[in-house]
């Protein structure tokens, strides 16, 4: 049986189910207990699991991240709540120097089964320090896994799989999607890390969209269909590990690809995926691979300007139309 629930509810269910299944799972972060986070994702958890397992911390990201890494090394499976993805900068040492490297540096004797839940996404009028999409920083560091749920269904399945993974996994939820509903099974399910989903099939262009950019790609595919252009829409779901096979298979079929991600375009996720396509499916490409990331500027507070910085369905469709028709997007 499936029902429609919000992404918020899906995350809440995933955490509650995992905490019921495994008593070593705990939740730690700012406002996770009494306030239930600013996005109200965690409401009700402290009532069921108590303050021993749902731990409110002071405003001290490096501190509670360090506590969680230590707890993970010694038998707990912490889920760390980082209120804004922008605060990633504060926990970089704990995440990248400690959590990511402990398994390797201990010769495999220690695991860090930790989940860091945080968020990304602009257009919420939160200004430059609360609107960034910084997941590429995580993808760059060996030893960390990275999940990018694109709907309530993925949010629940990926989070449950992440909790059961023995490696540090970072999950970025799009903060604009917390109230978006999607069909989610009532029965338990997991989404394995490293399996992309093909959401729509077409033969002329592959649109690869992460997180909320998957919706942008699906909407672009609708627009393109009206023009008689068929698009594959691929959601990688996790960026580390990345399901290259599905992406390359689709591009070999369509000969064209557009990669859409909300992180900054320079040196970003779109660049990495585009590079892999260009390297590994080069002789199947009939057009250059197009990257569409967020504009390389601090996210503006002005709503009119902010909206210009992220890829839109119309923009994706326009680029797709150009490459399908053989019109160079960049001068040859």
């Amino acid at each position: 049986m499936t029902r429609e629930i919000t992404l918020s509810q899906a995350v809440n269910e995933a955490i509650a189910e995992e905490m019921r299944r495994d008593e070593t799972v705990l939740l730690i972060g700012e406002d996770v207990a009494e306030a239930g986070t600013p996005f109200k994702v965690l409401s009700g958890l402290v009532e069921e699991f108590g303050t021993e397992r749902v731990i409110d911390t002071p405003i001290s990201e490096p501190g509670f991240m360090g506590i969680a890494v230590g707890a993970a090394m010694t038998g707990s499976r912490p889920i760390v709540d980082l209120m804004f993805g922008d605060f990633l900068y504060l926990v970089m040492d704990q995440l990248c120097n400690q959590a990511a490297k402990t398994h390797y540096m201990s010769g495999g004797k220690l695991n860090v089964p930790l989940v860091l839940r945080t968020n990304l996404g602009a257009t919420r009028r939160s200004a430059a320090q609360h609107s960034q999409s910084l997941h590429a920083l995580v993808a760059h560091i060996p030893g960390l896994k990275l999940a990018m749920p694109s709907s309530a269904y993925e949010a629940k399945g990926l989070l449950k799989a992440a909790v059961r993974d023995d490696n540090p996994v970072v999950i970025f939820e799009d903060k604009l999607m917390y109230q978006d509903k999607a069909p989610v099974p009532e029965e338990e399910y997991l989404i394995p890390l490293g399996e992309a989903a093909i959401l729509r099939e077409g033969s002329e262009v592959t649109l690869i969209g992460t997180s909320s950019m998957r919706q942008v790609c699906e909407e672009a595919a609708e627009i393109l269909e009206r023009d008689g252009i068929g698009a594959d829409v691929v959601d990688p779901r996790t960026l580390v590990p990345l399901d290259e096979g599905t992406i390359l298979g689709s591009v070999r079929k369509t000969s064209r690809a557009i990669v859409v991600d909300e992180g900054h375009q320079n040196f970003g996720v779109t660049a990495e995926i585009a590079a892999r396509i260009s390297e590994k499916a080069f002789y199947h490409l009939d057009a250059p691979v197009i990257r569409m990331g967020a504009m390389d500027v601090p996210v503006p507070f002005s709503p009119a300007l902010e909206d210009l910085t992220v890829p839109t369905a119309e923009g994706v469709a326009a680029n797709a139309r150009a490459i399908v028709r053989g019109v160079p997007v960049h001068a040859p």
């Binding site: 000969s255 002789y283 199947h284 490409l285 009939d286 057009a287 053989g326 040859p332």
Partner: protein
């Protein structure tokens, strides 16, 4: 007296050598012992020296050409006035009249069919316009596989960068070219006479597919069999008993042997092979569009089909 410059045999099992660089140009004076070109074999790169004094003349191979051992590459003539122009490019070097270089161990003469090189190695037609044609990686790959010269497409006015769709559109722009051949029917007819089950059209389709695979280095070779009654049947890999996926046919076969008609050139579509029964044997004609299948490729293909009909054993090799 003019002196011939031929591709030397530098290794025991060497069939050919690639000319890496010309150290003298056409018309340059040379002295016996002067290195005149560099040749690369499977083992090494070596300099080849002039065997006589004179002037380098009538250079027939360009840098990068893979020239069979013993083939004439140039002449050394006695006076500047006798120097002939270089003719590198489309024309194949003249075959050796006699073995020129003595070797300790002679390799078995290679079968005729060894001339069927992979499309990329085959001499391309003279470029219509110099310079690199802008094309997508996929269009470039398909063009190489089909032996298409992208310069021809540019010459037809197709805008760059060239995409895959342009390769298909090119057919509408260029007309068909036709190659024909007459083939001794004896061996082929003997098979048909002796076998109760052999079907001429099927056998021809199978030979055509085998020849396509051999000359164009293709992995699949489906053949469309077109009848004068308008019928169309597509046979996947007829040379492999119809095994494998039925892909877009590479060639259309029209078997005219049962009628008085001896030719058919389709208005559009891919390469078409017509087989008719004439006074001297089987008349083969291959209609093709040069921008899609280059002349050397088409010629090699028809040569190979003819060879198979004349000597059906080749099909088994």
């Amino acid at each position: 007296m003019p002196h011939e410059v031929r591709m030397p045999q530098l290794g025991m099992v060497q069939d050919s050598g690639v000319i890496v660089a010309w150290l003298k140009s056409n018309g340059d004076p040379v002295t016996a012992g002067d290195p005149i070109f560099e040749v690369e074999t499977d083992k090494a790169t070596m300099e080849v020296e002039a065997a006589a004094d004179g002037y380098l003349s009538g250079v027939k191979a360009a840098e990068g050409d893979d020239v069979p051992v013993g083939h004439l590459i140039a002449m050394i003539v006695g006076s500047e006035g006798e120097v002939e122009e270089a003719s590198t490019g489309a024309s194949a070097p003249e075959p050796a009249a006699a073995p020129v270089v003595e070797t300790v161990q002679r390799r078995e003469p290679a079968p005729e069919r060894q001339e069927a090189l992979a499309p990329a190695e085959r001499a391309m037609p003279e470029p219509v316009a110099a310079g690199r044609v802008l094309a997508s990686p996929k269009a470039r790959r398909l063009a190489t596989e089909r032996g298409i010269d992208l310069h021809l497409l540019r010459a037809q006015g197709i805008a760059e960068p060239i995409h895959v769709a342009d390769l298909d559109a090119a057919i509408a722009v260029g007309g068909h070219s036709t190659l024909s051949a007459v083939v001794d029917p004896t061996a082929f007819d003997e098979i048909l006479d002796r076998s109760r089950t052999a079907d001429r059209t099927r056998l021809l389709a199978s030979f055509a597919a085998g020849a396509w695979r051999a000359t164009l280095d293709a992995s699949s070779a489906s053949v469309a069999i077109r009848g004068l009654d308008g019928s169309l049947e597509i046979v996947a890999n007829p040379d492999r008993g119809g095994a494998g996926e039925q892909e877009c046919p590479v060639l259309t076969l029209v078997d005219l042997c049962g009628s008085r008609i001896n030719g058919y050139v389709p208005a559009g579509g891919g390469p078409t092979l017509c087989v008719a029964r004439g006074a001297a044997g089987y008349d083969l004609s291959l209609a093709f569009v040069e921008s899609r299948l280059a002349l050397p490729c088409a010629a090699a293909l028809l040569e190979d089909i003819a060879a198979r009909i004349e000597n059906p054993l080749l099909q088994l090799l």
